[in-house]
């Protein structure tokens, strides 16, 4: 069986700065892997390389067994991404945005797909509103709809619940759990929310200064480092290395 996402000995160097250093990991089908680490540890660079926005200096990224550098555009059909740092066109309505991205990803039976997303993500109440006029929580749900419009086999989430109120954050997490079980999607989740990582991820990669410094299930890491939760593990690992 092919592995949806496999990273082999991946490095990225900007001029003289090594942003990511020889990292390797896999995300299997129906698995959520978390990437944790302080700001600037290489999480976004790693995601950027997986999405083909960055060219790796060394190493390989395999999507369903095929190297992304060899078939970048074709493999982008298998991926999608959500981040609070990127937005959908603000002047279009929610429906227009979903139609645009549905067409960009060549989604079959787009109308049915949009109806499904509207129902699952509770978009119906503002489907014809201008995206720029929505609240953060509503925008987040629209971005989430865009990120799964093509039923990606690998979904990359960069702080998907940042700046959301607790209720919306919980809704998004519940949706992701349900969606992942239903579609058996492989998810790579970069987050600073340790409770979220403990709840969603079956395995966690701890990064610092471009390298993976530890990995395991949240329970294993908590036990191994003698701490009560992932937040304490995070603080221990990052402070130890300062």
């Amino acid at each position: 069986m092919t592995i949806p996402l496999e990273i082999i000995d991946l490095s990225k160097t900007y001029d003289t700065k090594e942003a990511v250093r020889n990292i390797s990991f896999k995300v299997n089908e129906n698995q959520i892997i978390g990437i944790l680490g302080p700001n600037g540890c290489g999480k976004t660079t790693t995601i950027g390389m997986i999405l083909g926005l960055l060219k790796p200096t060394k190493g390989k990224i395999l999507i369903n067994g095929i190297e992304i550098e060899k078939q970048r555009v074709e493999l982008l059909n298998e991926l999608n991404f959500i981040s609070p740092y990127i937005e959908l066109p603000k002047k279009l309505t929610v429906k227009q945005n979903l139609e645009v991205y549905g067409r960009l990803y060549d989604v079959k039976e787009l109308g049915i797909k949009i109806d499904y997303l509207c129902e699952k993500l509770r978009l119906n109440e503002f489907i014809n509103k201008i995206t720029g006029e929505l609240s953060s929580g509503q925008k987040n749900r629209v971005s989430l709809a865009k990120s799964i419009i093509n039923d990606p086999s690998v979904l990359l989430l960069d702080e998907p619940t940042a700046s959301l109120d607790p209720e919306t954050g919980d809704f998004v997490r519940s949706f992701l759990e349900e969606y992942q079980k239903e579609r058996k999607t492989s998810i790579l989740l970069a987050s600073h929310n340790m409770a979220e990582v403990e709840r969603l991820c079956s395995s966690v990669l701890m990064m610092n200064k471009g390298s993976i410094i530890d990995q395991g299930t949240p329970c294993e890491l908590i036990k191994k480092h003698g701490r009560r939760n992932m937040e304490e593990v995070f603080l221990k690992l990052t402070r130890d290395l300062i």
Partner: protein, 258 residues
């Protein structure tokens, strides 16, 4: 008050592009109108139909201006709306991005220009349609060159990020004096003539004046313009691809709009 002055002073002092931007517009304006004035003072009897020729040339120049700005705007809007990353992670080939921008820019250009073209007839008694069939070729040449300039600027935006934005706005005005829109190439100093001959604009506007004044079509001018357009277009497309590759190496795509 002094603090606010210092805030802007530090900003200007630390950025050479900002200083150049401040100098740029007045200089270009002075040069452009200087050449126009010189032309009229030397050859005041050159035109029988000065208004018609100047307006026709102004409209044609606007085709270039609108097509290039439209192309740049489409790219800039993705940056301003922070949608750039979404676009570049969609399964789109670069050639598909270029083609869709070219067609969208054409629509934007026509929306901006058609009303202006229609208005010149009742307001000034000037109709660009007097150029006849060559108008189509001149339009196409200007449109292609506008798109090519758009490709150059978009390449810069992709490679250097939003800081390249000012150049996006000013690139066309740099070509205005050298493009010989309102006067023949002979008005330019010799050194500038050498540069101007490398631009399709000189041949396009020379031919426009030739048609309007003499009622004849010199296909040599049109051929020269098309040939130069083709060279620049191929170079522009190559540069776009190269900039995308460099942006992937340098990491500009991932931080765009942040």
């Amino acid at each position: 008050m002094y603090g606010l002055f210092l805030r802007h002073f530090y900003l200007i002092k630390s950025s050479l592009p900002r200083v150049l931007d401040l100098i740029y517009w007045p200089t270009i304006q002075i040069i452009l109108w200087g050449f126009i004035s010189k032309f009229f003072s030397i050859y005041s009897d050159y035109y029988n139909n000065t208004l018609g020729i100047i307006l026709t040339c102004a409209i044609l120049y606007d085709i270039l201006f609108r097509s290039s700005i439209s192309f740049n705007m489409l790219f800039l809007e993705e940056i301003w709306s922070r949608n750039f990353t979404n676009l570049f992670i969609a399964p789109l080939k670069l050639k598909e991005i270029i083609i869709s921008l070219i067609f969208t820019a054409l629509i934007r250009t026509l929306i901006g220009l058609v009303p202006a073209i229609i208005l010149t007839s009742p307001l000034f008694g000037v109709s660009i349609l007097k150029l006849g069939f060559p108008l189509f070729i001149l339009f196409l040449s200007l449109y292609i060159f506008g798109i090519t300039l758009g490709l150059f600027v978009s390449s810069g935006l992709m490679r250097y990020g939003p800081s390249f934005e000012n150049i996006a706005w000013s690139s066309l005005f740099l070509l205005a004096p050298l493009g010989c829109i309102y006067y023949p190439i002979e008005i330019l100093p010799e050194f500038f003539q050498v540069i101007a001959k490398g631009l399709p604009l000189v041949y396009i506007f020379d031919e426009t004046r030739n048609i309007l004044i003499n009622g004849l079509v010199d296909y040599e001018n049109i051929k020269q313009a098309c040939l130069l357009n083709l060279v620049y277009l191929i170079f522009g497309i190559g540069l776009f691809y190269l900039s995308f590759l460099r942006a992937r190496i340098k990491g500009t795509l991932i931080n765009m709009g942040e």
